[in-house]
């Protein structure tokens, strides 16, 4: 299926990218000097550490990190002290972590010979990476076997709070035509500095992201996929305070897509900037290696700021997300940059604006599986009007050749979707996508017409914004409230206490190996 094109000022596109590159280069320097507790916990998880401790069910990796902090050993990273202990006590890494929880004090242990340490860690790193690779190859084989559905992929969310109920809803959606199932996370999980454990049945506005919940949903979707003869993608969220750990769990359980934005946590969850930037980098290294597509969250800007006035902030943020993603070794094919259909429906010619914005995203990122978000902000209790808005949204997506279509739900303003809300969303999308299947092939936009002009105007404004950000730096720009009209301070936000400067002695052979494998070693 073809798509129409528009002419963008190619010099301006190039300049925009160079600005975004400079902006992110500056931040990356700071990222490289730091690590975080969640990064270190992710490292332990990649070494196979799992489980919880005590009645409070605190994850073992958190217990270990707290101990390392107490012993002032954190600035060298978690890998070395734990692996050293495994060598001198002749145990595996899981056993060492359990022993730490039981009172083992790493400060009292002798050091193994460097040579021994290096050989041993090399083996551990190889095993860890092989585990991820195996999983991703397994996914790939299933995709080959079952076949990839046509784009735009129909993406639906489930959010009952109970993983077993989610499975029922998700399977039904698959049988009705869904290609992608996302389990929305429970309210405020992003502010937990640990990942809950096991299967969960109690969540608010969504279901907890846990490794066991990932596994349960994966199994259910694969089974349904085999029944319908179509590969079904599974989505969760690597956002909030535990980005790197969620990425590891997703890699181990074979998820296909993770919501992962370089700035969303800062803006919408008030998580500290340095924490978020550092965490997003590691989480993206893992995604890149595990062949997991990321979805960025630019759509959210338009829920707080006006979608016409602030359209260029979406573009600027997409370009920044793209550069951060490249730094972590993500290929364009894995960058599901986000945008949205959020213009006030009372605006005359809102459809032309929407088409212009959709074409801009498409044209700027031709190789990316761009993710298009439905109307939410102007959805009201009038579900019938809302259904009409979703129809136009589907038409624009199909016509402009978007890749991932998060289907609009007619009851958006009321509750998280009921089973038949999702069904009606699919009825709408199935109809429009089929009825307009080859519409894109036939469309030529008027040269210098409204759509082409508007797309270039948004791009120009994005460039002005990027110039400003490049002048003051990304940290200051966020302090000034440039994105989504939201201001965040550098020292403010949650999770800063979990960031530390790496000392001379810092080592993280897994991170280094990932960087090496992905060709992004600095």
């Amino acid at each position: 299926m073809g798509r129409p094109t528009i002419r963008l000022d190619s010099k301006l596109v190039e300049y925009a990218r160079s600005l975004a590159k400079k902006i992110t280069d500056d931040v990356q320097k700071i990222i490289d000097e730091h690590s975080t507790v969640s990064t270190e916990r992710a490292t332990l998880r990649l070494l196979g550490v799992d489980g919880v401790v005590g009645e409070d069910r605190i994850p073992l990796v958190n217990v270990v990190l707290d101990k390392l902090k107490e012993w002032n050993m954190l600035d060298q990273g978690a890998f070395k002290p734990v692996v050293n202990a495994a060598i001198v006590l002749d145990k595996d890494v899981q056993q060492i972590c359990e022993a730490i929880a039981d009172g083992l004090d790493l400060r009292t242990l002798p050091q193994p010979k460097r040579q021994v340490y290096e050989t041993f860690s090399k083996k551990l790193v190889e095993e860890a990476l092989a585990r991820i690779k195996r999983k991703s190859e397994e996914r790939d084989a299933l995709l080959q076997q079952l076949g990839d559905p046509p784009k735009p992929y129909k993406y639906l969310i489930v959010a009952t709070g109970n993983i077993y109920e989610d499975v029922v809803q998700a399977r039904a959606a698959v049988f009705q035509g869904a290609d992608i199932i996302a389990v929305i996370r429970s309210t405020a999980q992003s502010l937990l500095d640990y990942v809950p454990y096991g299967a969960t049945t109690e969540g608010y506005g969504g279901t907890y992201a846990t490794q066991e919940n990932f596994r349960i949903m994966r199994q259910a979707l694969d089974e349904a996929a085999r029944k319908v003869g179509r590969y079904i993608r599974q989505v969760n969220y690597a956002s909030g305070l535990c980005m790197p750990e969620i990425a590891v769990m997703a890699a181990l359980e074979g998820l296909d897509i993770l919501l992962n934005d370089a700035m969303y946590g800062i803006l919408f969850r008030d998580i500290n900037m340095l924490r978020t930037f550092t965490d997003q980098y590691i989480s993206r290294l893992i995604c890149a290696y595990a062949n997991i597509t990321i979805n960025t969250g630019e759509d959210n800007y338009l829920t707080t700021a006006d979608a016409i006035e602030k359209a260029h902030t979406v573009t600027a943020s997409q370009l920044i997300n793209e550069q951060f993603a490249l730094k972590a070794g993500l290929k364009p094919q894995l960058m599901g940059l986000g945008h949205a259909f959020e213009i006030n429906p009372n605006v005359e010619d809102s459809l032309l604006y929407e088409i212009a914005h959709a074409m801009l995203s498409r044209e700027l990122f031709p190789d990316c599986p761009v993710k298009y978000m439905p109307p939410t902000r102007y959805m009201t209790g009038n579900i019938f009007k809302g259904y009409a808005m979703n129809t136009l949204f589907n038409l624009v997506s199909s016509m402009t050749g978007q890749s991932i279509q998060l289907l609009g739900i007619l009851t958006e303003a009321i509750h998280t979707p009921y089973m038949h809300d999702r069904y009606l969303a699919l009825v709408n999308a199935n109809y429009v996508f089929s009825a307009a299947r080859h519409l894109g092939d036939e469309i030529l936009f008027k040269p210098d017409g409204f759509i082409e002009k508007r797309a270039n105007e948004v791009l120009r404004k994005a460039v002005e914004l990027l110039e400003h950000i490049s002048d003051v730096g990304l940290f200051s720009a966020i302090e000034q409230g440039i994105f989504a009209d939201i201001k965040r301070s550098r020292e403010g936000g949650k999770g800063l206490e979990g960031v530390f400067k790496k000392s001379e002695a810092y080592e993280n052979p897994i991170r280094s190996a990932l960087e090496h494998e992905l060709g992004v070693r600095r």
Partner: protein, 247 residues
């Protein structure tokens, strides 16, 4: 309205009682599902039940769109509307009234409490810009506004109330799944009582699923739902607060 006190739904003829419904039953698509849906509607009090469509949601679920008629009627004269009572004064009048009677601005502390991260609703009541062309409380000389933003633990809100000597507390609750808002709102009210602050304050809650009735039940002074304008809230605050302070 006085001549017609008894009303029932209207389709195309007065008193035809025509109603449209849609729902899902956990029953396999088929004749049994159809009969079950029909029986269900009859039990609800509908007759001439028409299953306009039934569709297979797969795995033992069926979706229905149904039309039916009902004889049930309501007597308008027996209904009491539970809503905050406000007299509508223009902004200038409010400013004048407050500065004249209270001799200082009313101190307002606003927050979205608990785990809720939605700020747009509260902001549209508090921010200068307001909502649909109706200016927010910050625009009034009559109010000094502290907007604490989202995900504020009730205990933090209470601290701020003490610190700035608030007259009015405005809380927003948007997420209502599994009644999480009730939990948050109850926690705040209990804290206010425990801290001996409740009686001095006007405590108001708002959000798209909030009703005045619910607010009163939870011990709040008022509840404001979807489409609330800042001027309604401003008027309510001023009238109630001046009354409360005996001014």
């Amino acid at each position: 309205m006085s001549e017609r006190n008894l009303v029932r739904p209207y389709g195309d003829q007065m008193d035809d009682g025509a109603v449209q419904l849609s729902f899902t039953l956990p029953v396999e698509f088929g004749p049994l599902a159809r009969e079950a849906a029909k029986k269900f509607c009859e039990k609800l009090g509908f007759y001439e039940v028409t299953i306009a469509t039934m569709e297979d949601l797969s795995e033992g679920y069926t979706f229905f769109v149904v039309y039916g008629k009902t004889d049930v009627a309501v007597d308008l004269s027996s209904i009491k509307v539970i809503a905050p009572k406000v007299q509508r004064l223009p902004r200038e009048k409010i400013d004048e009234l407050v500065l004249q009677k209270l001799k200082r601005p009313i101190v307002v502390v606003g927050a979205t409490i608990g785990t809720d991260a939605h700020t747009i609703g509260l902001d549209s009541i508090l921010n200068m810009k307001g909502f649909h062309g109706d200016y927010g409380l910050e625009r009034y000389k009559a109010f000094k506004v502290y907007n604490l933003g989202a995900q504020v633990p009730p205990i933090e809100l209470v601290k701020k109330v003490r610190e700035v000597g608030a007259d009015v507390v405005l809380v927003s609750q948007v997420v209502t799944q599994r009644n999480i808002h009730i939990q948050h709102l109850t926690e705040l009210m209990e804290l206010l009582y425990a801290e001996n602050l409740r009686d001095k304050l006007l405590v108001i809650v708002g959000g798209p699923r909030i009703t005045h009735e619910l607010a009163l039940e939870l011990g709040y002074d008022a509840g404001f739902g979807s489409g609330t304008t800042p001027s309604e809230v401003a008027n309510f605050i001023v009238q109630e607060l001046l009354k409360k302070r005996g001014l």
